[in-house]
Symmetry: C5
Subunit: 334 residues, 5 copies
Amino acid sequence: MQQPIPASPLNPPCVINCAWYDDRGGRRHIALDDIDEYLAREDGFVWVGLYEPDDAVLAIVQREFGLHELAIEDTRKAHQRPKAEYYGNSLFVVVHTAQMVEERIRYGETHAFLGPRFLMTVRHGASLPYTSVRARLEREPEMQALGPSFPLYAVLDAVVDNYLPITDRFGETLDLLEKDIFSESYRRQTVMRLYELKRELNKMRLAVSPLQDVLAQIQRNPGLLMHDEVRPYLRDVLDHAVRIDDSIDTLREMLGTALSVNLSLVTLAQGETMKRLGAWAALLAAPTLITSWYGMNFQHMPELGRPWAYPAMILGVGVACFVLYRLFKRARWL
Amino acid sequence: MQQPIPASPLNPPCVINCAWYDDRGGRRHIALDDIDEYLAREDGFVWVGLYEPDDAVLAIVQREFGLHELAIEDTRKAHQRPKAEYYGNSLFVVVHTAQMVEERIRYGETHAFLGPRFLMTVRHGASLPYTSVRARLEREPEMQALGPSFPLYAVLDAVVDNYLPITDRFGETLDLLEKDIFSESYRRQTVMRLYELKRELNKMRLAVSPLQDVLAQIQRNPGLLMHDEVRPYLRDVLDHAVRIDDSIDTLREMLGTALSVNLSLVTLAQGETMKRLGAWAALLAAPTLITSWYGMNFQHMPELGRPWAYPAMILGVGVACFVLYRLFKRARWL
Amino acid sequence: MQQPIPASPLNPPCVINCAWYDDRGGRRHIALDDIDEYLAREDGFVWVGLYEPDDAVLAIVQREFGLHELAIEDTRKAHQRPKAEYYGNSLFVVVHTAQMVEERIRYGETHAFLGPRFLMTVRHGASLPYTSVRARLEREPEMQALGPSFPLYAVLDAVVDNYLPITDRFGETLDLLEKDIFSESYRRQTVMRLYELKRELNKMRLAVSPLQDVLAQIQRNPGLLMHDEVRPYLRDVLDHAVRIDDSIDTLREMLGTALSVNLSLVTLAQGETMKRLGAWAALLAAPTLITSWYGMNFQHMPELGRPWAYPAMILGVGVACFVLYRLFKRARWL
Amino acid sequence: MQQPIPASPLNPPCVINCAWYDDRGGRRHIALDDIDEYLAREDGFVWVGLYEPDDAVLAIVQREFGLHELAIEDTRKAHQRPKAEYYGNSLFVVVHTAQMVEERIRYGETHAFLGPRFLMTVRHGASLPYTSVRARLEREPEMQALGPSFPLYAVLDAVVDNYLPITDRFGETLDLLEKDIFSESYRRQTVMRLYELKRELNKMRLAVSPLQDVLAQIQRNPGLLMHDEVRPYLRDVLDHAVRIDDSIDTLREMLGTALSVNLSLVTLAQGETMKRLGAWAALLAAPTLITSWYGMNFQHMPELGRPWAYPAMILGVGVACFVLYRLFKRARWL
Amino acid sequence: MQQPIPASPLNPPCVINCAWYDDRGGRRHIALDDIDEYLAREDGFVWVGLYEPDDAVLAIVQREFGLHELAIEDTRKAHQRPKAEYYGNSLFVVVHTAQMVEERIRYGETHAFLGPRFLMTVRHGASLPYTSVRARLEREPEMQALGPSFPLYAVLDAVVDNYLPITDRFGETLDLLEKDIFSESYRRQTVMRLYELKRELNKMRLAVSPLQDVLAQIQRNPGLLMHDEVRPYLRDVLDHAVRIDDSIDTLREMLGTALSVNLSLVTLAQGETMKRLGAWAALLAAPTLITSWYGMNFQHMPELGRPWAYPAMILGVGVACFVLYRLFKRARWL
């Protein structure tokens, strides 16, 4: 994934963004080491955006923002489950991100640290940069005055919005698989892809399901970290997450039903095959019995000598086969 | 769906109704732009009914009623899950509607904004207009004095009442499918329709299940938005929603059982087919063995020369087949 | 269901009972229109028992007891789910009744209105009259002094006691079906009856399961409607309801297991059938191969000319069949 | 089950034990009718142990201990679910007991009444007498000073300890059944015993599962009935009950998996059988086709006249069968 | 498992560690009998580490630390479920440990007693010694000043960290089994190993699932036993435990799906086998019918005498077989 050029040459490349946003809608790029100066001012907040930062940068931001060792450790190692944890007067949020990249789902993590006057977002793995979020902040300068909890909301909103096309894709995949299941031909491929889909759904659920708790926890938090005007926005994001979780649950359940329906249809088709085989076997066995009959070597089988016997026997076989064929057709065995 | 003529030529066509209801049972059509004048009066409430409003109309009502940007955004985009949200002193409710239209279930959404002196209902997609609700208000003018929470109840009541015929239809469909399952003939069609029904039930459940929380939340709300005399009515609607949800759950469970019963019966039928095939194969194979026997070319097979041998052999084959047939009949293989 | 003669000629036939019970164990039949006079007295309570009352009677009791319009509406329409609702200082209870009538389960509803000085019970559908409850009240006059909550308990106790023989019957049905499942013969009938039983259990559960909430809610209610000495009795009824619910749950689970065990056994039996068919096919095919062999027309098959060839071949076929038979017996294919 | 000789000839045979335990570790057998005298003393408690008491004895203890009519009624009828109920200042506990008696599980009930200065235990059905508990009391006289809640704990501890060998036995049964499932031979017996085990587990769960609530309720009870030093002991019993419940749940789940694994293996084995049958059919059908070929009566089949034709044909059949055999072996059909 | 040499010759071999840690980072090995002297000091804590201690040692530590008889009894017997229990002002914690030892999972138990100035850890069964934890304490002497709750955290952290490679291994096993399931060959072995994996997962869940409650309970405990700065660390361990539990749940669910997918594929493969058998049977039966036909002994079968008849018939059989073969190929039966 291509990374944008760092916002300022003052900082190492893993620092995607490091800026001070004042309450009047202004914005200034700053160096990591100057953060403490800006934190001391009361008329704005600092937002630092990192992508897979190295230990040196993490050490700097830990010192500048006064972050707890455990949270920094989590951020360094990544591979956390979605969670929201309070360390003193700062909030540590972990969410999983998911994007469709070239027809495949790529998972990543975004960690966020929210303080009274700062927001730090750290991206890991496949994850789009939050340039759209920064652009939104520029478009809505009055929101900037709400403090760092507004960009945190905007980041979470972007994360959840990225889930939607994936669940839509899951739904389309299931629709295609349903068509395969209900088509006459049963293929191993269909069952294998149902299993694949189940695995993807489970993975997705591990990202979305705890996210609901995280969002509910952040939104309800009685502290001052979250601006009251931002809460309804977070409730909106939570609502989207719940809707995505509902979709996943419904898909999971339909998938289970699809599997058992598939088994029913395969068994049904097997019974059909058996009937068809039986019917054809009968159509072959009946004339075989007759021909075998006239292959007997009894000296006194008067019909063998009659000149009309052979044509009559051919006719008999033909009629027998025709009658059997009609019978099997009527019984739907053929 | 045919839309009624707007209540007043003062307003654009997407405004189905815009009226002021006073505490004495009176009613007056008003223009959207005059709403603020009527909101200032203390002896009645304004009810605006919209159908898929355009942005211009939404902007007017947002300004007139002082609605929150997020709620208006939700209403503009539709596709929300059922929810009840408080924005300051107004309540925003989303419910899903469902109707049988020409043998098919059509889903829609109704959004409602309730304030101390106003109600705004916005319909999306397939949804009957709430003329019946307005007619009820005219029939019961004493209810009009309870304020805008009574027509909100009436709208929710109408929505839930429309669910009932659909779940009844689901029940009838399952009854028909059960008959198919227990009939002698197993058809792919039956399994496919069971799957269809499962999908419809899941869709319906996504509409009804969160509705229970929504109704419980509105009914218990301690604020002043909801008139105390309206609460028992809301509890009644909640009760209906719970009953519909129970029906859906029961149907879902019976459907799962129907699927596994179907598999059992199909497997059982397969075993029956196998037995019948085996019995017929034996009935054909036994005479074939005998005819094959007398087709041997040994020079010293004394019976071949006897004149009574052929008729005796015919008799023997006949008796053998008859005995086998009786045996298989008794063992229920035929 | 035959209705007893109304307790008093003063009232219409749908009024099964209308009496005033004083605190000293006395009892007096009264007319519906006199209820208000007796409600004014402090030394007893009124109990009215109705069976599918018409609107006129309901209007009278609503006026006399001051009941809420919604509760009366529910009672008029019936088809409610079990619930307990408080309207001001009166309690409205709905429970489902079930009885075995001529080997079939008949469901009904009983609605009860409890006030500080009155009890009204309304029966709908198949339901035994509560004469036994009234007899109990006469046998235990000291309980009469506890007020109308004691006969309410007695009614609920009778309702729950009527469930017991039905769940016992369900258990016996499952026992019979188990025997069928484990018998050698697999019948469509067994699976169909398992499905029937599942449906009956689900229906029963819809009656019993919410009843537990209803009873717990009534028992815990802190108000004065429920006499403190009646609470332990209600806890006893709740206990019975929980036990019945446990039975139903266990039956439902065993039934699910029975269905999957049945499928396993049917599949197993199918495999057995296949083996048996295969063994018999081999027993027929082996001599057929031999007879076919000696039906060949080679001019130089020396054995065909030998006089002992035919008897030797008969012996050979006999031995081959016997050996095969023993082999298949040992492998348990026959 | 053999009953020990009643502790004192003063009392009827259903009274297993009736004694006064003083705070200094002393113990004195007393008559039922003298209980009230001892209850008046403050330096000890009375413990009465009954086995399926008749109504006369129950009437005496009800009067002596002042027990609630409902609890006595429950004790008289037995067949209660496990529960703990408070009647004024006395506690009524019902637990189910289970013992292995001659390789079969026998269920019983123990009811206990606990008052500030008394304990009454009533056993029903298969149940070991609590002589071991009484012996423990004699061994630990300092525990006797904690009052009647200590022997109640000891009784509950003995009940729960008796469950352990049964769940162990269940585990061993499942192990044996697993071996049967994974052995090559599929037997109806295995499936039937899996079903049996499921039924036993469900029965056991009905005893153990509510017991956890009962124990938690008793242990947390804030009243004075339970001596504070006894609480940790009750927590210990609760812990054992939870562990047994965990075992049962795990067994139930493994049993479900075992059933579906069994179905998979049976289906798999069926496919194997089909392949083997097919292979043998081919091995028989190929020579049959050849022999049938040379049984044709064309006048111009030059090979029939050759003297080497018959041996060559025998060789050909042999080679064909061998090649087919090897092919089927390699494809694992044989 | 090899045990390290006891830290001090003062103590019996089952005492792995017995030391006093002062607040300044110092550490001193002490004898068990001197513990009470060190407990009296306020500037440090005692940590005793035991491995399957005998009764004598347990008696000493019970006396020295003043532990409750029940906790000591639990420790002596082991085989407890994970739990956290408060006895007065000391905390008793039981956790299950799991390690991969030579490709097999070995389970053990660690019991911990935490007091205001002491920690005692007791290991049972397969379990690595906590030398790494002691080394960590030496590396971070500032943590030593937080009191004995920090080493308790470190022990729990080590226990949970040891789970991770096991769940990773489970995941790899499932991946391998999936490959087997989706390969063309169906093997009994695959199903058996799926069952094995399910059993292992259930065992692991019994260890991890209650651990979450234990950790949450310890972390939230309002008492003074747990230093406030240690709480975030415990929350971190809890987080890991939750993640492991999520993995196990997902694995369990995928395993269930794998089992049913396997059944579908086996059934599907059976249907394929049946079709292939049927096709080959037809390819053999058609020429057999023809050869049987010309084996008939009618005197007037003109074609039998024609010299081109035999070659023509050979050609006919060849063409018939070829056409059938193509037909079956096209229908995917071959």
